[in-house]
Every structure is written in C-alpha cells, then in structure tokens.
Subunit: 210 residues, 2 copies
DNA sequence: AAGTAAGTTGACCCAAGGGTCAAGAACTGT
DNA sequence: ACAGTTCTTGACCCTTGGGTCAACTTACTT
C-alpha cells in the first residue's frame, strides 16, 4: 500500500471514529469522507463497505468499555449490586456514545469484530444475570434477551433525549431494576422468553427505523 | 366539490386508513395514492398535506379505542387494577395497530384532531396514574411523562417485533408494572421527572428515526 | 350540446444517501 | 527523471420520498 493511501486510510479512520461517536454508526459515508478531507470515492476504494470501516474503527471504541463494565459487574461481592451496576453502566455508555449504542443494538452482520464484541457482551450479560438469579436477587424469569431488548429501546430513548433530557433513560432503568428486584408480589410472566433468533430479527428492524 | 373529486377523496381516505393501519402514519403518500388508484397529484390536490389526511382518517381509527381504554380503566374499583389495565390495553392497541402506535408516539403538530386525541389521552393517563397513587398502589414519583416515553419505546419494540415475537412487549410491560407497584424496597428516583416540553422534544426525535 | 369551471394526470423538480468508474494525479523503483 | 503502477477524484448513476404544475379530461350548467 502506497504511503499516501496509508495516510488517507488513517485520516478516514480518525474521521469515522469522530463521527461514529457523535452520531452513531449510520452517518453517511460521504460525510466521513468530507470530514477526512478526501473524496468519498477514496473511502470506497480503501474500505469498500461501511462494515469494514466499522470493524477497523469501532472495536477500539466500544470493546474495552463494554468488557470493562462486565468485568467490574462480576467483581461486586453482591450479585444484585453487580447486576444493577451492569445495566446502569451499559445504558450510560449508550447514552454517552451513540457508537456504543449502535454496537449494542444495531446489527451489522458483516462487521466481524463488532459481532464478536456483541457476542462477548451477551455472554457476560448472561453470566451476570444468572449469578444474580442464583443468589435470588432478581426474578428468575428474566433473560439476557429481555435485557438486550431493553438496551435497544434504551438506546433509542437515550439518543432521542440526549439534547433535551439527557438523564431520561435513568428513570426507565430505575423502574426496570425495581421490577426485577425480588419482592413480595412476584407473579409469573405470562409470555415466554424470546429465542435468540427472535431477538435477532427484532433488533434488525428496531435498528433500521422503517 | 365535484362528484368525481368526492369519490376520489373517499377512495383516498379508504386507502389511507388501510395503509396507516398496516404500516403506520409514515407510509409514502404516493403509495396511498397508488392503492387508491389515483395519481399522487390528486392526493396533494385534495388533501394538501399528510397531516390533513391523517386528521380526516385517523381520528375515527384511534380516538374511540383510546378513549374507551381510559374510560374502562377508570371504571375499575381497584385503582391498581385500572392502572395496569390501562397500560396493557394501550400497549396492546399499539402492538395491534401501527396507526395507533404513531398516534400515541408520533408527533404531527399540524394534525389538529390528532393532537386533540393525544391531549385527551394524556389527561386520562394523568387521572389514572393519580388515582392509583392516591390509593398508594403505585410509586408516587411516576409521572404521565414517564408513561408516554414508555409508550413510545413500547411502540417501537412492538412494531419491530410484530412479525417475529408479537408478544415481546408484554414482558417489558410486566417488568414495568412490577417496578411501579408499591413494594417493600422503594428508593426515591435519582432523576427528576421530565417537563412536558422535554417530552415533546424527545418524542419528535424518537419518531423520526435518524 | 357546448362552454366553462373543476379536477386529474404524470412528467418533472428537489434532496439525501448509496455506489461506480474513466480520467488524471501522485507516488516509487530503477 | 522517467516509466509504470497505484491511488484519487468528482462527475455520474441509482433509489426513495416529498412536492409542483402545464396540459389534458371530465363533469356540471344552461
């Protein structure tokens, strides 16, 4: 690869990182090219697809923070606290950074590294949930699929509210946590948990807003 | 107005009603015209704006059902049951009919009748919430703004899940109800309620999916 | 039955966003 | 310093959706 191409790729990565964090993974590619100061043709030439660009850029942005949240959640002595920490932390990351929000909720099947991150995050969530359930801290019928759906809707809410009520999502999180916490009244859920396939389908459509 | 124009307007209203219910208030106007069997020019000629069409068509679709839900909720002896009924019923309407979902969550400020419906629904919600709170049935810091935001995210979820997991939203509703129900552990919310203005802004952006 | 007003049509404009590619510019190795 | 390769550019094409309007058609009136 020629030196100037290398430089352009770097400029594009930088611009993409900025814009992804500012406005999510769906920013127009032409705008990324504009900010990088190159033609959009060059972007297509060097990366080919949005997914490839995402893969090179977003991994570093999101993976560490999500992993760290999971790790820290599991380091709590009290599983209930760890669980609450994890949910709040992930939602906060989503609210703070649209790129993270899209990593958690958007679906970009062609972005391999990104999908790997999602996989790891989901596994971590499952462990955190199960730990809390074994301790009897939260209702036993809550699943990691439920949590994912909640994250997706939370991401939409957080982004929509970012300018006007940047903490709106915290209320919804609080209601959820209250609802999950084992308490006296605890009826069984009338609806079966979703399958991973269902969640996959659902998220695809929630992400693209038709 | 000439007789043929009258007929066309009627065809357009019928087509719009169908498509609004099938796919929400954002269906392309040209598609409505296509289904009505007229040119899109005629649609613009007869109605001018999407809002005008919505106003003529959606009122009948949504108002009765929403009013009825509120009325029935207030007819429960137990305010707690009435509250739960209302939330579930509205969410169910949203899940069943994208037009209702958009009425509750979308913002079409130029559609007067529609905004009137929204206003009435919100007032009803406030009464239902306050009644439950006076009875000590639900946490006192839950507001009708919280409920609206919940409805909006619920609508997105329900629509996204419609084909794959049409009951997914019921789980989230159940978690919410559990969280609102007065129980032993009941910490104060760390975040202040939103103002109506904030809710107004937020919803505008949640509706248009950028 | 003809004249006129009213209504309809579809080609046309716009913008945003995705994507391609021939022509030209710019590196690099010798 | 020049040939040869690689890279960049921006004009171009596509689509979807909103919106307009001159020319045509249709219905009503007398």
């Amino acid at each position: 690869m020629r030196a100037d191409a290398q430089r352009n790729a770097e400029k594009l990565r930088a611009a993409a990182a900025e814009l992804f964090q500012e406005r999510g993974l769906k920013v127009p590619l032409k705008e990324i090219a504009r900010r990088a100061g190159v033609s959009h043709g060059t972007l297509y030439n060097l990366f080919g697809t949005r997914e490839a660009l995402i893969d090179e850029v977003v991994t570093g942005l999101a993976a560490d923070r999500l992993d760290e949240a999971a790790e820290h959640a599991l380091s709590f002595e009290d599983p209930r606290e760890g669980f609450a920490y994890y949910i709040e932390k992930v939602c906060e990351l989503q609210a703070t950074d649209p790129a993270v929000a899209d990593v958690v909720s958007g679906r970009y099947p062609a972005a391999e590294c990104l999908m790997a991150i999602c996989g790891r995050a989901q596994e971590a969530a499952t462990r955190i949930i199960e730990r809390a359930q074994l301790a009897g801290a939260i209702r036993p019928d809550f699943t990691s699929e439920d949590l994912l759906l909640f994250f997706v809707t939370n991401a939409l809410l957080a982004r929509a509210a970012a300018d006007t009520a940047p903490d709106a999502w915290r209320r919804q999180v609080a209601f959820l946590l209250e609802g999950l916490d084992t308490g006296p009244a605890q009826g069984a859920l009338a609806v079966a948990p979703l399958t991973p396939q269902q969640v996959y389908d659902v998220m695809g459509r929630l992400a693209g807003t038709p």
